[in-house]
């Protein structure tokens, strides 16, 4: 027999003066292969059309639907009800500005990050449309892609102890972005340049090593290794700078 599922959902519409933050419950009968994507759309279409939440690709690729599911930041689209108890609590991701109900503003947060870490290839070379492409070993391309897989869902930031304390902390997603350019031979920035960005408490030295980021990353990014690598690299850069003086 199909289970009856109870969803306790955070509700608040900051644009409505009469709205106050509260929890609201909805009950749905479970169907085969049910995901939170199906659940939330059914609640909106059948029970409360004002319910706000974000989905886009609904295939675990775009990172839109990060939310806290029974205490854990997750992508809602690939969360199956089959793996959850009868009662499920959904909250918006912390750290990010609330738009309403389960919807948060990750866009502004990440756009600011691009400027902070200058999230682009720094090169003096001009593109020559007539020339063959510059060669690159396939292994190098694969290593870059491995770090380029981040979908900026914000789960790692929402689960991060430091990010909850320091609004300017770059989080695992931001630090990983720096790591991506650091190993890209096309980027001409030096270790000193990267040190200027992340060699501080806003960057790699702000990380307390709690590593919830690694636990919750829906793309299984190697965040623990990345943070360790950057801490070591920036530590050495700091020492070099110290002895040069």
């Amino acid at each position: 027999m199909a289970r009856s599922l109870k969803f306790n959902i955070f509700r608040y519409n900051p644009q409505d003066p009469e709205s106050t933050p509260h929890m609201e419950s909805f009950v749905l009968e479970e169907t085969d292969s049910m995901t939170l994507f199906i659940v939330l759309n059914r609640i909106r279409e059948e029970q409360d059309p004002s319910l706000q939440f974000d989905f886009c690709c609904r295939a675990g690729i775009c990172g839109s639907c990060g939310m806290v599911v029974n205490g854990r930041p997750s992508l809602a689209c690939h969360t199956k009800t089959k793996e959850l108890p009868d009662e499920i609590t959904l909250l918006p991701l912390p750290v990010f500005q609330l738009v309403g109900d389960l919807s948060v503003d990750t866009g502004s947060w990440f756009r600011e990050l691009y400027d902070t870490v200058e999230s682009w290839i720094h090169t003096k070379k001009e593109f020559d449309p007539k020339a063959q492409e510059e060669r690159m070993e396939n292994e190098v391309a694969e290593a870059i892609y491995e770090l380029d897989r981040c979908v900026e869902c914000g789960c790692c930031v929402a689960a991060c102890g430091t990010a909850r304390l320091r609004p300017d902390f770059l989080g695992a997603a931001g630090l990983n972005r720096v790591g991506r350019f650091l190993i890209d031979p096309r980027d001409e920035r030096t270790e000193q340049d990267y040190y200027q960005i992340i060699g501080n408490d806003m960057g790699i030295f702000g990380c307390m090593g709690l590593l919830a980021c690694e636990d919750v990353c829906p793309k299984h990014m190697p965040l623990q290794d990345q943070l360790g690598f950057l801490r070591k690299k920036m530590g050495i850069t700091a020492l070099k700078t110290f002895f040069k003086k």
Partner: protein, 615 residues
């Protein structure tokens, strides 16, 4: 009312829109992209396979060149494309791939040495040359003579979108995300920008621009099942068709992919069948080997989708709470192969279905996948009907795909066309001065404010937007699907006309305050039904079968009467049907209409098609 001025306004921040904005920014113009979602969540990110470009670096791509790519594209389009545009595209694609490499895309590269690959379930050898070490490599895709699809693992769209958005950040191209354009500001001759709704506050905003570009992707969401993201709802098209002067091209040309999973309609790759996977029915028996003894499961997308639908119609589908489906069986390929070369499929099945494809069958059915049609533009990307309005990418009917597009050509089109059209926009802006008429702007704002107020206060009625939407989707699914007939399409058009009347009476159940999702849906439902009518009415009138448009009552491709592109206008707001017009599919023939070399060929020949050789 907040009013923002920019040289170029791009509606949509996927690959096509951002790539065009980059060209404008590099030419010294200011550019703002509006997007429903943060730019990197745009649906371009979901394209996994790759981009076709005739670089010819890998062993199986040797001898490739833009001519061969052009020829594959024209055949793929079933001679429905504009050949001049397809030529522009094929010539520019290799340069664009190198440009992307320069910007930071980690393309997979040639690894010299001996290697093996699978084809039709069998294993073959190949050897990559030392001299090509480290150049951009390519993989095999359907309908191509060579291995031509450049890729970044199984995340090409994601990786290219991140790179292009990085360049936007670098150049100062602004992205106003969570912002939805609801209407163009125009006077019937010139486009001056758009009225947009902020999806953080629900407030309206005015964007004024010398050039406005619609780059909002496909409109798969007007069907009940689609591989498209939820944002691919035709919002951009609606702003164009509501002007009454901008036509939609070939709306009836819709591609269906054989293996969308059930439920959620996420795509699983053609590679499953390429590597030997089979399709099974309710009795767990194969059927493609009966319908297509030669190619079996590996016939082309349109052919397999047609037979699957036929089989379900015979009652051989598997019943489920999400509708009838068939099975995809890859169990016999074994654990190593499934968790290795088909890792992504394995992850989709386990994550979304809770199905382990090593031991269980995957529920699939043909699913709406791509919109060949869209805002009709000339080869510069300038929309018909309005000066200063452009369109690019899947949103546009530029028209390099005609009636069927090849895999790997859509993702490539986003950046190649983005670059070409972006340059043309920059040319258009050189020395262009626009006089903004405050009367036109205020009238449009007032109109949108009233529309919103009327929907919230249920002035025209209390129809439920989700029920109306379901009625529209069901009508299209029933009548304008893979198989089309006069009777089915007539019924579809009639049903949609009734649905249009209901759409005009939609009123909210909720209070409509702030970023109300019911209001967002209600604001576009009437436009969506109009698009559905353009699609189904165009399909009804096109009495032939070409590419993805299959008429059971007109099975031949008719080059004598239908070597044309449909142009659908919604001339007056009060109309209940679109006005159809036609133009030649292409003004220049480099390749005269002929046999595609795959699929059944039944052709009514044209007598007077002149060809022109290039160069």
């Amino acid at each position: 009312m907040q009013t923002i001025y920019t040289d170029v306004l791009v509606i949509g921040a996927g690959l096509a829109g951002e790539r065009a904005a980059i060209e404008a920014a590099q030419a010294g113009f200011s550019a703002i992209c509006l997007s429903l979602v943060p730019a990197r969540r745009s649906h371009s990110s979901a394209a996994m396979g790759g981009m076709q470009a005739a670089l010819g670096n890998c062993a199986k791509g040797e001898g490739d060149c833009p001519d061969v790519h052009f020829s594959d594209t024209v055949k793929g389009s079933d001679w429905g494309c504009d050949q001049e545009v397809a030529r522009l595209f094929a010539d520019q694609a290799p340069i664009e791939m190198r440009q992307l490499a320069h910007w930071g895309v980690p393309w997979n590269r040639v690894v010299p040495g001996k290697d093996t690959y699978f084809k039709g379930g069998k294993i073959f050898d190949k050897e990559e040359k030392e001299e090509n070490r480290g150049l951009i490599t390519a993989r095999d895709f359907g309908g191509t003579a060579k291995w031509r699809t450049c890729y970044v693992s199984d995340g090409t769209g994601h990786s290219v979108l991140f790179t292009v958005d990085n360049v936007c950040a670098q150049l100062g191209v602004e992205v106003h995300d969570k912002t939805e354009a609801v209407a163009l500001i125009q006077d019937g001759q010139t486009c001056f920008g758009a009225v947009a709704r902020c999806l953080r506050t629900g407030e309206l905003r005015v964007y004024l621009a010398k050039a406005t570009t619609i780059a909002t992707g496909g409109f798969g969401r007007i069907y009940p099942g689609t591989t498209n993201a939820v944002i691919c709802d035709g919002g951009g098209h609606i702003t164009a068709l509501n002007t009454g002067v901008v036509p939609m091209g070939n709306m009836e040309a819709v591609q269906f992919h054989p293996t969308g999973i059930v439920p959620t309609e996420i795509l699983v790759t053609e590679g499953c069948r390429g590597d030997g996977g089979t399709l099974l029915d309710v009795n767990e028996e194969r059927f493609m080997n009966i319908y297509e003894p030669e190619k079996q499961e590996l016939a082309s997308r349109d052919v397999v989708s047609r037979w699957m639908t036929h089989h379900i119609r015979l009652g051989k589908g598997v019943k489920s709470p999400y509708g009838d489906h068939l099975w995809l069986d890859i169990r016999h390929l074994g654990e190593k192969h499934i968790t290795g070369k088909l890792r992504e499929v394995y992850e989709i099945c386990t994550s979304f279905l809770g199905v382990d494809p090593i031991h269980q069958l995957i529920p699939v059915r043909p699913t709406q996948h791509y919109s060949m049609g869209g805002v009709r533009t000339n080869k510069d990307g300038h929309a018909y009907g309005l000066k200063g309005l452009f369109s690019v990418g899947e949103a546009a009917c530029w028209d390099m795909h005609g009636f069927n597009r090849l895999g790997g050509n859509s993702l490539a089109e986003t950046v190649v066309a983005g670059g070409i059209v972006g340059k043309k926009i920059a040319e258009f802006l050189q020395g262009a001065e626009v006089t903004f008429n405050s009367g036109v702007i205020d009238a449009e704002v007032k109109k949108q404010q009233e529309r919103i107020q009327n929907i919230i206060s249920c002035k025209a009625g209390t129809e439920n937007v989700y029920k109306v939407r379901t009625a529209m989707q069901d009508a299209l699914f029933k009548g304008a699907n893979i198989f089309r007939t006069d009777a089915g399409l007539t019924e579809c058009v009639n049903t949609l006309q009734e649905t249009l009347a209901r759409a005009r009476k939609v009123g909210l159940k909720s209070n409509g305050k702030g970023v109300n999702p019911e209001l967002s849906a209600a604001l576009k439902i009437e436009g969506q039904v109009k698009m559905a009518l353009m699609l189904s009415y165009g399909a009804l009138k096109r009495t032939e079968s070409r590419g993805s448009h299959n008429r059971e009552d007109f099975t031949a491709r008719n080059d004598r009467d239908w070597l044309t592109r449909t142009l659908a206008y919604w001339k007056s707001e009060k109309d209940d049907l679109p006005t159809l017009d036609y133009e030649a599919a292409t003004n220049i023939f480099h390749i005269p209409p002929g046999d595609r070399g795959y699929g059944k060929s039944e052709i009514i020949k044209a007598d007077d098609v002149k060809t022109e050789d290039k160069g």
